[in-house]
């Protein structure tokens, strides 16, 4: 959608200074650029500092995962879902296994569901920490990155102890999870970690970044996405909630056992400027970390005993014919998997609806009329992951 058209009409023909012909400057941002969060490329048309048109060019990380899905079996493909959103891989696993389980209909044990939620929320916190860190980095603040990565390493350690991998876990399988809790100490460590996060660390981030005067000046009233635009462009996750829409798949379209837990959905309120500006989207993430901590505590306190796999690990999965679309709330938004099975061990078609893909599209509309430096703030506040956009 070339939304910038109306701004461009006749612009270059006008003589702003008599006798001097002016035209728009084409600027190429990316794919190797420190502020594009990966290999995103933005084609800009600018007049000085004002952006008149933004055209995202994606596909520099197109890794053919949907084609691979037609060649590997259902359990093997969990590996590839890890690599979509590599900042919150467990959340991506969750979307995929729920889609397979819609067709397969195994009785997923309660303990597995609790473990899934604990790991997914830990992963969500890790992803939000990176979002805070890199957003701060985009705004010129290096120090928060060091703090955020320190806590992220703790989460990676905890997840490594339960899932065996450091960053990409391959932890979920259709019908359960791969490993049980290693020992009682793990539960104690997770609880002590989230207590520390809630009581101390989030205050640190707020002191360092959230209520920093320079940071607020850079982000408040910048890149405002109003609620109607966010809905029309199918924005989800913190981007939608930052615009003041109280919608969360975990609450409004419950999956797994999220209905058992008590948590709030933070929304942008325009505290520092307008509802839906970059600061709101940023702050929604900070508040979601607190809510994730609440969910983890409840899930671990009520962790039931019992098995954690409905299907043995060494058994091949044969999915009945049919099609199912399942969506879950990932750290970036609503991730959906549309699986068409022909009854075999390999999916016939596996389409992934990734949240970053839809969230990024709004840049075409909102980025117009901004300063180039504010566009960096806008893209940073969307918190995109290119592995998920390009797949």
């Amino acid at each position: 959608m070339a939304t910038g058209d109306k701004n461009l009409t006749g612009w270059a023909d006008q003589d702003h200074v008599p006798g001097i012909k002016s035209e728009l400057l084409e600027l190429n941002m990316g794919p190797q650029h420190p502020a594009t969060h990966g290999v995103l490329r933005l084609l800009l048309k600018t007049d000085g500092e004002i952006v008149y048109q933004v055209t995202p060019v994606i596909g520099y990380l197109h890794r053919c995962a949907e084609k691979i899905a037609e060649g590997v079996n259902y359990k093997q493909w969990v590996v590839y879902t890890d690599r979509f959103d590599y900042l919150a891989p467990v959340c991506c696993n969750h979307a995929y296994v729920t889609a397979v389980e819609k067709l397969l209909k195994p009785e997923v044990p309660e303990r597995a569901e609790h473990l899934r939620i604990v790991t997914a929320e830990l992963s969500r916190i890790a992803s939000h920490l990176i979002a805070l860190a890199t957003f701060g980095l985009d705004m010129g603040a290096w120090t928060p990155l060091l703090y955020c990565f320190r806590e992220r390493e703790e989460i990676l350690n905890l997840l490594e102890r339960i899932a065996g991998g450091r960053m990409l876990y391959n932890y979920f399988v259709p019908g359960g999870v791969r490993y049980d809790v290693p020992d009682e100490q793990w539960i104690k460590d997770v609880l002590s970690f989230i207590t520390m996060l809630e009581t101390k660390k989030i205050k640190d981030y707020n002191d360092l970044l959230s209520y920093n005067k320079i940071f607020i000046e850079r982000t408040a009233d910048v890149g405002v996405i109003d609620a109607e635009t966010a809905k029309a462009y199918a924005c989800t996750g913190p981007v939608l909630r930052g615009s003041g829409v109280k919608f969360d798949c975990r609450r409004d379209d419950p999956y797994s056992v999220y209905h058992k837990f008590d948590f709030e959905i933070p929304v942008g309120m325009g505290e520092m400027g307008t509802v839906g500006d970059c600061w709101d989207r940023y702050m929604v993430r900070v508040r979601e970390i607190e809510q994730s901590c609440r969910i983890i505590r409840q899930a671990l306190d009520t962790l039931p005993e019992g098995p954690y796999q409905a299907i043995p690990l060494n058994k091949m999965v044969k999915v009945p014919a049919g099609a199912a679309y399942s969506r879950t709330e990932s750290a970036k938004g609503e991730i959906g998997h549309y699986i068409i099975s022909d009854g075999g061990q390999i999916a016939f078609r596996n389409k992934v609806r990734s949240p970053s893909f839809c969230n990024l599209q709004v840049v075409e509309k909102v980025g117009v009329g901004q300063m180039v430096s504010d566009l960096v703030a806008l893209v940073g506040s969307l918190d995109i992951v290119l592995g998920e956009i390009d797949r």
Partner: protein, 204 residues
Amino acid sequence: MSRDAKTPPAGYDVQREHMLDFKVDQQLEQVVETDAKNFILTTVDEVFNWAKLSSIWPVTFGLACCAIEMMATSATRYDIDRFGAGAFRATPRQADLMIVSGTVTGKMAQRLKLIYDQMPEPKWVIAMGSCAIGGGPYFKYGYHVVKGVDQIVPVDVYVPGCPPRPEVLIEGLMRLQDKIRGRKGRFVTPKWVTDYAKKIPYRK
């Protein structure tokens, strides 16, 4: 059973062999420690190589999942700056090292080569992760994936893993420093690693 990596097992020898016989370092330490009247005998090559390997500036070039581990390597716990390679430059024209961290796709290959060509000599390349080494999990059906960055640019050090842990990337950097020094990197698996590996019980 806890698998916490924070506590090294007993018998872990922290001193690494290859850090000890570092000729030029020792000579330069002597210069610092003793009077200025002393002199050292060395070659220009060795001094230059020592300078090169002590301040490798990588280009900020994250491609995929491995880029996050590259960030983690430069961040708090691992701190790649200890090895003189912490100054990530946003422009290839100021960089010596390209860490290809992630999957190289057909569309990206041209840009990658362009960035490599823009880097001034001398320059080195680390292929980080299975994708950059040989396509990784995207080898067989990846119609858009270049099966290894060594098909486009020459690679000095291969760092395996999917993604490699930060320790492995640091190990790769040290091997690269060995290479710059003009010495063959010799990798001896430390005894504590083999001992520790035997102790890990197989998880059902």
